[in-house]
Symmetry: C2
Subunit: 285 residues, 2 copies
DNA sequence: GGAGGCGATACCCAAGAGGTATCGCCGCCG
DNA sequence: CGGCGGCGATACCTCTTGGGTATCGCCTCC
């Protein structure tokens, strides 16, 4: 009884996601029969029924759902191994660098200070910035595309990452300067969620669709910035986000919004000295 | 160029650990030439020199060292996927259970309270205890042999695990009742590290060897307990450890020893409701 | 300078991954 | 009710490739 190969895990993930052998095979660039056989062999090897087959398609069993989760994590770890090794080999060729992931549109001020401070450290290497969508930093770290990331509690999950917290700030609502609420010293969440004419914008979900609601759909921060500057939307954001937006806006503290903490995170077993230096520098800011 | 397979990672880890193709091949139950070829192919696939070959043996390159770390983590994730799926399939057969790992010899009182409280929860499943050596809990979680673990900061690393802290306690030194220091209300670490006739016992390192020093070698808690009870060794331990040892001992607070916190930890992407219930129960104790 | 340990090469074989054709099953629709 | 179409499984073949044996070339240490 040989051990499980990543090929089998990739096959299983494809089938489990498509819930259709034909489409999964197509996605994998292979024919359907060998895929069916590979999955059957995997089930025999694990003594587990992973899929319930009907002539109308396929559904996941409990064990299948567990394997889907675990296989994704394992495959992430494998591609991380591959990528990090490739990058380590480049380092040997004389181009050492760290990749720092951060949500696009996040506090440029903090990042600039960090990069500055780190660059003046002894033995510092060049830092490549990798800007990503909200919540993607974790995956970038797990798959080895990034070495360190800045993320923001409570929005981003720190699950499975080591981290150090850098700063904490309250949240404000950004409104056009002339808005009736603009004079208030503070507001509550409920005061601003359903403002007439100033709906909260809608972000795409993980599946690419948008939640229902009246707000305008936004895909990135540029769109958001434009909408807010035009007075077509309001947004609750960390205080530091204010500096990124136009000056014709008022920021009013939202007292009952959760505090936002910025943390620097890295994959658990990182041994890179560059990452350690960067983290140490960040913690001292 | 196809992706990396776990077989190749296993081969590489074997070679990197043995630093000798022949022995690695033997350990893997195969001949040396195909192993050499497999590693060469892996190097080509990653465009990286992983090993420096001399006629006298093999040394790791920088990229090789990175891959060794990453490959171990990835392989752990793969075996975890395998094991958890197997167990999930058993669950479908009607024997649901959670495996709780804990250092052998750790506070039985806390564990008993936890198991009791959890058993009386609705929907609780049976809990299998897995006792292990100090510091092994993390690996058990990562490789899927355990679902939750109790561990103790600052001794155990929480790196890469999600956790909830349960309790904090000071440390005491355990001495024979008649010892000159036994009457003191408190001591400092420096007072008890070099007591004549009461050396600190030595625990095996990760490689199985023992550090140098005068103390007796111990391999498990039974030996330690015996030594302390016989008055042949002193030991600094969390307050709660006291109840496990004989009553002819005095426990004196060590004021400058770090606080010990007991945490319950689980692998990052755990979706098991049983684990969640157990954690919630533990947090309420 | 010869012996022995070590990794690489050359060459062969067989396991097994993958392709094509086809079957059996079951909804669906005319 | 019967044929069509979608889906997964089977049968059978091919050829890639992983693994074995024999051997070489190199270096180190007697």
């Amino acid at each position: 009884m040989v051990a499980v190969e990543t090929r089998e895990l990739r096959y299983f993930v494809a089938v489990a996601e498509e819930l259709n052998f034909g489409r999964a095979a197509q996605r994998l660039g292979m024919a359907q029969p060998p895929l069916s056989r590979a999955i059957a062999q995997l089930e025999r090897r694990l003594d587990a029924t992973l899929l319930e087959r009907t002539s109308r398609g396929v559904t996941l069993t409990g064990a299948g759902a567990v394997l889907l989760d675990e296989a994704r994590a394992a495959l992430d770890a494998v591609v991380a191994a591959e990528r990090r090794t490739r990058r380590a080999a480049e380092v040997a060729d004389g181009r050492p660098a760290v990749v720092l992931a951060s949500k696009a549109g996040a506090s440029t001020e903090l990042i600039a200070k960090l990069l500055d401070a780190y660059a003046s450290e002894p033995n510092s290497v060049s830092v490549d910035m990798l800007l990503c969508g909200p919540g993607e930093q974790g995956r970038l770290l797990r798959t080895g595309r990034a070495d360190v990331a800045l993320l923001h509690r409570p929005f981003d999950s720190l699950s499975g990452l080591d981290h150090e917290t850098l700063s904490t700030e309250g949240q404000v609502v950004l409104l056009p300067a002339g808005h009736p609420l603009a004079g208030r010293p503070q507001v509550r969440t409920s005061d601003v969620t359903d403002l007439p004419g100033l709906p909260q914008p809608r972000w795409p979900r993980a599946d690419g669709g948008y939640p229902d609601g009246p707000g305008p759909k936004v895909r990135d921060h540029a769109q958001l910035q434009q909408l807010v500057s035009l007075g077509r939307a309001s947004v609750i954001a960390p205080e530091s986000a204010r500096t990124n937006l136009g000056h014709d806006l008022t920021a009013i503290p939202v007292v009952d919004a959760p505090q936002v903490t910025t943390v620097i995170a890295w994959p658990p077993h990182s041994r890179s000295v560059a990452v350690a230096d960067l983290v140490r520098t960040a913690a001292r800011l």
